[in-house]
Amino acid sequence: MAEFKTNPEIVKPENLVYKRTEMLTPATMHYCPGCGHGTTHRIIMEVIEEMGVAADTVGIAPVGCSVLAYDYMNIDMQEAAHGRAPALATAVKRLMPEKFVFTYQGDGDLAAIGTAETIHACNRGENITIIFVNNGIYGMTGGQMAPTTLENMKASTCPYGRDIATMGSPLKITELIAQLPGTMYVTRQAVHTPAAVRSTKKAIRKAFENQKLKKGLSFVEVVSNCNSGWKMTPRQANEWMVQNMFPYFPLGDIKVNE
């Protein structure tokens, strides 16, 4: 057992500044060290806690690395078939329109197998929130090429790098759905620095509050690392993400309808 010394004069409940939210279950997440999923889970739960809507929120877990999201998020969760989270979220929201409904999806789930569900849920303008974690690779199954894999980026199914001529260009699904009239808020964020995490949290809060307005779908993309899939240390992966992912997937709001 690791020994950890603290100053008892400072470590008192009245001096608490920040602690892990109890909206997350005590379970240790299975994510690799440094994975952005953990941070994203935490800030979603913090938003739900701050809004006081834990009892009125239904989350939809995807298939992929975050398939076990329902084990970590201490709220009502449903598990969707691969890529079908927006369809399930549509059903939940239509049956219980007063609930806050969100899906949590990765790039393989949302932008590959679930493209049809994503685009049509966005086009119908369902009053749900989609949280899309984009790490440019299929992390769970062993680092295969995803629709969002960058040009020349190596993956286990494109070991010489993604060749645009034969494999197509990385899919900017977020820009794509921003063009649909059904979406009211589309943004791209990241979770690699404290400032980025704060900005993402604000975006997620806005995306949840938009559900009350009933004016369409809110979509938050979180550009994340996949240090195991990219074969880097977590810090290297974050630096690589800033240098390579952000030029192609620039951060910021893409569409804001009031």
Binding site: M1, A2, E3, F4, T6, N7, E9, I10, V11, K12, N15, L16, V17, Y18, K19, R20, T21, L24, T28, M29, Y31, C32, P33, G34, C35, G36, H37, G38, T39, R42, V191, H192, T193, P194, V197, R198, N227, T233, P234, R235, N238
Partner: protein, 75 residues
């Protein structure tokens, strides 16, 4: 003069040693321990008492392993 002092408490068994908190710290307090936890990860720990209690490390920690405290001392 009042002085604000912070303190981080790392849940050493939850920490996976990813080191994402190290560049996040504005006063470079955090280092990795030489020892390991039950799972074999080196865990984060403060190296000095220079912590200002800004919670930047806790905000970027993917596993929520860091709890932050802050107290104002008047001399």
């Amino acid at each position: 003069m009042a002085k604000i002092k912070g303190e981080i408490v790392v849940d050493t068994e939850r920490c996976k040693g990813c080191e994402v908190c190290i560049p996040a710290c504005p006063v470079s307090v955090i280092v990795m321990a030489a020892g390991v936890n039950r799972k074999g990860y080196h865990y984060a720990m403060p190296s000095t008492d220079a912590c200002i209690g800004c919670a930047s490390c806790a905000i970027v920690c993917p596993d929520g392993a860091i709890t932050v405290y802050k107290k104002k001392f008047t001399e």
